[in-house]
């Protein structure tokens, strides 16, 4: 998955990296919706492709929006049922998944088989959640001095990160912190990509 694409999909989701648990919920939403919507669109495409009237342009966009938004709504309902607090804290950002996954999908070349496109979607979702998780851990650990997970048995759900909890770097927990972390994450990804590219081009032209 290309760096630019990953970043593009991260941008709206990055707001939910103030705590680790939020990032996990967001990741779940992105994975689910992108996977299912991709499958649905793919199926529809293939069926309509057989008939001569393949929808295009605005119609196509409308259909995609419809699919992803309905799926998102379903996810929201599910989240509300599972954990009302989580759905409350997701606020306006869970509905945004609808347009978000669509933006990603639109920039993907059409895959040859259904399995391919599905696995592609899954891969994208996983990449996004991994990045979200990294940013979230970094931000919450430094910005709040905690790492919030599920309460499970004796474990009360939050890990305290040493002395930071007393004087956390609050600025990293703020919106700016999210942009900052995403920025340096993007830098790292870009550096890796360029290194790969230069390593690849090493063969033909020595520099």
């Amino acid at each position: 998955m290309s760096t630019g694409l990953l970043l593009l999909s991260l941008c709206p989701a990055i707001a939910m990296t103030d705590t680790v648990i939020h990032s996990l919920w967001m990741s779940a939403g992105v994975i689910l919706v992108s996977l299912l919507s991709t499958i649905a669109r793919d199926v529809l495409d293939r069926s309509s492709a057989s008939t001569a009237t393949s929808p295009k342009g605005a119609v196509r966009l409308l259909r995609a929006l419809l699919i992803s938004s309905v799926l998102t709504a379903a996810f929201e309902a599910g989240l509300l049922a599972v954990s009302p607090t989580a759905s409350a804290s997701m606020g306006i950002y869970s509905p945004l998944i609808a347009v978000n996954v669509l933006v990603i999908a639109d920039r993907q070349p059409a895959a040859r088989s259904l399995a391919r496109s599905a696995s592609g979607a899954l891969g994208r979702g996983l990449a996004v959640s991994a990045s979200l998780l990294v940013v979230a851990i970094f931000r919450e650990a430094l910005g709040a001095g905690t790492i919030t997970l599920f309460p499970a048995g004796a474990f009360r759900g939050t890990i305290i990160v040493g002395p930071l909890v007393d004087q956390p770097v609050r600025a990293l927990g703020l919106a700016g912190g999210a942009l900052l972390c995403l920025g340096y994450l993007a830098g790292a990804l870009q550096a890796i990509a360029t290194r790969r590219a230069s390593a690849a081009s090493e063969g033909e032209k020595p520099r």
Binding site: L65, T72, A73, I92, A98, L179, G183, G187
Partner: protein, 196 residues
């Protein structure tokens, strides 16, 4: 909320880009001040229109008939519809502006910034008038911040910045620094400023 409070909140304090983290995307960077202005205008109109429609939809349809579950699809389609309408209008009335803005229907229709404003306005339970102000304020804030970020980017273009950070990463760091700067305008400031 008083009308000026609404306007200032959506423009400065809860800025779409800097505080809500909507609308920074690696493909959507305007290439010049003119195109930033054009895109800003386009988005402002779109935000205002769909925010109003959104609040009406919320208060007249969704809430009374208990259709909150359908909120997301409704708003998504609403924004898309308005985007399509606006594009059609602009293509006929102001093709130059549309050209300058350089945003495709796909991008406006799926713009997280616009949808975000609609959602915030409706969840905040703003009436139509306030929603209009909210949309205008958000648009103004979007316009201000994109212009500043564009100017900074044009300045960085000619500088030998670190290779790893060139381009979008620095755009994000820039946005982060601006976000910290704009935090000087917080709710306390608004309260004291409009309070007396």
């Amino acid at each position: 909320m008083s009308w000026e409070a609404t306007l200032l909140t959506f423009a400065l304090i809860d800025n779409v880009i800097l505080s809500r983290l909507l609308g920074v995307d690696p493909y959507g960077m305007p290439g010049s001040l003119r195109s930033a202005a054009a895109a800003g205008g386009l988005f402002t109109i779109l935000m205002a229109a769909s925010a109003v429609a959104g609040s009406v939809l919320e208060t007249q349809v969704l809430a009374p008939f208990g259709l909150e579950a359908l909120r997301t699809p409704a708003f998504v389609l609403l924004v898309a519809a308005f985007a399509a309408a606006l594009h059609g209008l602009a293509a006929r009335r102001a093709p130059a502006m549309l050209e300058e803005a350089g945003v495709s229907l796909g991008r406006t229709a799926t713009s997280t910034a616009v949808l975000g404003v609609v959602l915030i306005a409706s969840r905040g339970g703003l009436d139509a008038g306030r929603a209009l102000l909210a949309g205008l304020g958000a648009g103004a804030g979007f316009f201000l911040v994109t212009s500043m970020m564009t100017a900074i980017r044009l300045r960085l273009e000619v500088e030998p910045v670190p290779r790893a950070l060139r381009g979008f990463p620095l755009q994000l760091v820039t946005a982060a620094l601006m976000a910290y700067a704009f935090l000087a305008f917080d709710r306390g400031f608004l309260a004291r400023f409009l309070g007396r």
